[in-house]
Symmetry: C2
Subunit: 197 residues, 2 copies
């Protein structure tokens, strides 16, 4: 959830999915990044926390995910995990449920359910690999694509809004430093013995 010099980070699920597909749309342009009064505890979490870095990226994650997935639930009637599947397929078509599961750390059965619902409501297609009939490659239907195309600008916009206080140079620096940290998590220092995870 949150975390800037805050606490360990926590990530509540966010709004449950409402009914099905909401109305066409409502207040699109609303500044989704709700500014908030900094209460003293949140201040402590962010700035007097021995795990300051962790606190900050958790906080960013919270303030990013919460409104976006809330909107997705309202607008499309999709649960977070379901939209994650759609987003994943938009990024890389044809992957399997397992790949999404291991990459996102959601349990397999949760993914199975999500995929099945998406297929049922016509947003995703499944075709079984004829070489290894255990795997099933997933892809988006036009309807699934449409949802992604509608949602993506929101996701991009909120990121943009969060980065607004930084200059272009600063953004690149931030991006590069975070990339460095993330990359190091992959190729362990000395090319450690690979672990499936």
């Amino acid at each position: 959830m949150e975390q800037p010099d805050i606490l360990p980070g926590t990530t509540p699920a966010g709004p449950r999915l409402a009914g099905q597909m909401a109305l066409p749309d409502a207040g699109i342009g609303a500044e989704m990044l709700a500014r908030q009064r900094l209460d003293s505890f949140t201040h402590a979490r962010l700035w007097k926390n021995p795990c300051g870095f962790a606190a900050r990226f958790n906080y960013l994650a919270l303030r990013y995910n919460q409104p976006l997935y809330g909107w997705v639930a309202e607008r499309f009637g999709l649960a977070r995990i379901e939209f994650v599947v759609i987003y994943s397929l938009a990024l890389q078509d044809g992957i399997t449920a397992s790949e999404i599961a291991s990459s996102t750390a959601f349990p397999k059965n949760t993914l199975s359910r999500a995929v099945n619902r998406l297929i049922r409501i016509g947003l995703v297609l499944r075709r079984t690999d004829m070489i290894d009939r255990r795997q099933q490659f997933l892809s988006l239907t036009p309807a699934g694509c449409a949802i992604f195309e509608e949602a993506l600008p929101r996701f991009v916009a909120l990121e943009e809004e969060m980065l607004a206080p930084l200059s272009l140079v600063e953004r690149e620096t931030l991006s590069a430093l975070m990339a460095k940290v993330v990359l190091a998590m992959f190729h362990g220092d000395t090319e450690q013995p690979p672990r499936g995870d």
Copy 2:
């Protein structure tokens, strides 16, 4: 979740709490930050994602929270939300459940349950404010403190490990840039009309 040029970010709950208080301890020094082979989809999520920044901090949050809260559950038999309460009280003693709720975005009832369990198992104390008898100030018992003291080094260590690839200067830069972004979320540019949230 995750999120570096990854997808929207997702944050599965992590291991459920196991039995009560596990054995004294086991492999402390184990590198908790499990290196992993970068599969092609995770690569796409992190590096070909239109929301690259969001993808990265979500990824960091995932890789940070997951192992730590997993360990907390095993070691202390505490659910994530329960440990969040303990951590919160360690950061700022005497706050109320509501304050934690609004700062962390967990629902009030979830916090109520967590607090009550912590009181029941003797990790937290509650005293009702005599001026406004609706509020109850919480604080850690010695046992609660002890848990925090044991856990904190883990949290610090994993953060340290994540930041290892950066030089001291780089860390400060990263820290400062993230602080800038986080701060901007509080005092909106022109001191916008305050919103409670």
